[in-house]
């Protein structure tokens, strides 16, 4: 049960995104219409502070709970995988108004229709791995 702490971190994350309205379809639409700073502010400030945080972790100034220095596995390189995957993701994000985290938050809020989106996302992940040998990376 040493992993139970992650349940609480998840609860915190669910509350934050819910309270910041990041889970609202309208906020995503508004962001892509450039009609509000809200979403840019949320992501931008998280990343700006994140850059400092990661720097401190990588320099070993902040250590993990276990007293070790973290190693962040770099994301896979490749123009096609990141750009094409990103574009496909973006199309779905703007259509359904939800990325993976918010899908599960909306489920917790009792939004029944999100179940179909989640099933779609699982199918999408399955399809990718079935088709990946034929895709450019």
């Amino acid at each position: 049960m040493k992993n139970i702490k992650f349940l609480f971190v998840g609860i915190l994350f669910g509350i934050i995104l819910s309270k910041a309205e990041v889970i609202s379809w309208y906020r995503i639409y508004e962001m892509f219409k450039f009609q509000s700073f809200h979403m840019y502010g949320v992501i931008g400030s998280a990343v700006a502070l994140g850059v400092i945080l990661v720097y401190f972790f990588k320099k070993g100034i902040i250590k993990t709970y276990f007293g070790t220095q973290i190693a962040i596995d770099p994301k896979k390189k490749g123009f096609a995988r990141n750009m094409l995957g990103g574009i496909i993701f973006g199309l779905g994000w703007a259509l359904g108004g939800a990325c993976p985290g918010p899908m599960f938050i909306l489920l917790g809020r009792g939004a029944v229709a999100i179940i179909i989106v989640i099933i779609g996302a699982l199918l999408g992940a399955l399809l990718y791995h079935a088709a990946k040998s034929k895709l450019p990376h």
Binding site: F6, L7, V9, I11, L12, F13, G14, I16, L17, S18, K19, S24, W25, Y26, R27, Y29, E30, F32, Q35, S36, Y40, V42, G44, A46, V47, L49, G50, V51, L53, Y65, F66, I72, D73, K76, R81, N82, M83, G85, G86, I87, I88, F89, G90, G92, W93, A94, G96, C99, P100, G101, I105, G108, G110, V112, A113, I114, I116, G120, A125, H129
Partner: protein, 185 residues
């Protein structure tokens, strides 16, 4: 208490998301939501169809607990922390949506035109929900991350692949919002 019940501004939410990333790093893990999609597929027996899913999902059980927490967090916020579901979106956004046929935009978190039971059980509505999910699931695993793994962690780590992915997120999002949504609705 009143502050908690109001919608949280970006300068509160953004730093708190960094806190979530900090807590996961501190406990030796890396923030990333969309890999749970693969874990859930693996638990569901997708290994019978595609070999990739034969991995031992137990090593990701911390992340599954995280995502269960996310569901609970949504429930807690809905039950006790959201007295009003009105989303204060831009009046121009409301007008743009009304031209697309969206009534009362911003009166609740989700538009009835996509998420109501009525929409869900229509052929078009069902397909919109399913395809939106499929694009997100396919795209996030193709790119190797979503808004959390690429958008927050990858950019914070100043990684070029994540910058490419985030640019992709925006290209896709802009195509959908400006070109495809007016065709679909």
């Amino acid at each position: 208490m009143d502050f908690i019940l109001q919608p949280w501004p970006w300068y509160v939410a953004g730093p708190l998301i960094t806190l979530v990333m900090f807590l996961l790093f501190y406990f030796g893990k890396k923030f990333g939501v969309s890999s749970n999609l693969e874990t859930i597929c693996a638990i569901g027996g997708a290994g019978k169809l595609v070999d990739f899913f034969k991995f031992d999902w137990r090593k990701n059980s911390w992340n599954l607990l995280f995502i269960i927490g996310v569901v609970i967090g949504g429930f807690i916020t809905y039950q006790w922390l959201t007295p009003s579901e009105v989303v204060a979106i831009n009046t121009q956004t409301i007008q743009d949506l009304s031209e697309l046929g969206f009534q009362n935009a911003g009166n609740q978190y989700l538009p009835d035109e996509i998420f109501s039971t009525e929409a869900m059980f229509s052929v078009k509505g069902f397909l919109i929900l399913l395809v939106a999910g499929m694009l997100v699931g396919f795209g996030s695993r193709y790119a190797g991350g979503c808004t959390s793994g690429h958008g927050i962690v990858g950019l914070s780590n100043l990684e070029l692949p994540s910058l490419l992915a985030v640019v992709g997120f925006f290209i896709g999002g802009l195509i959908m919002t400006w070109i495809l949504l007016p065709i679909i609705f």
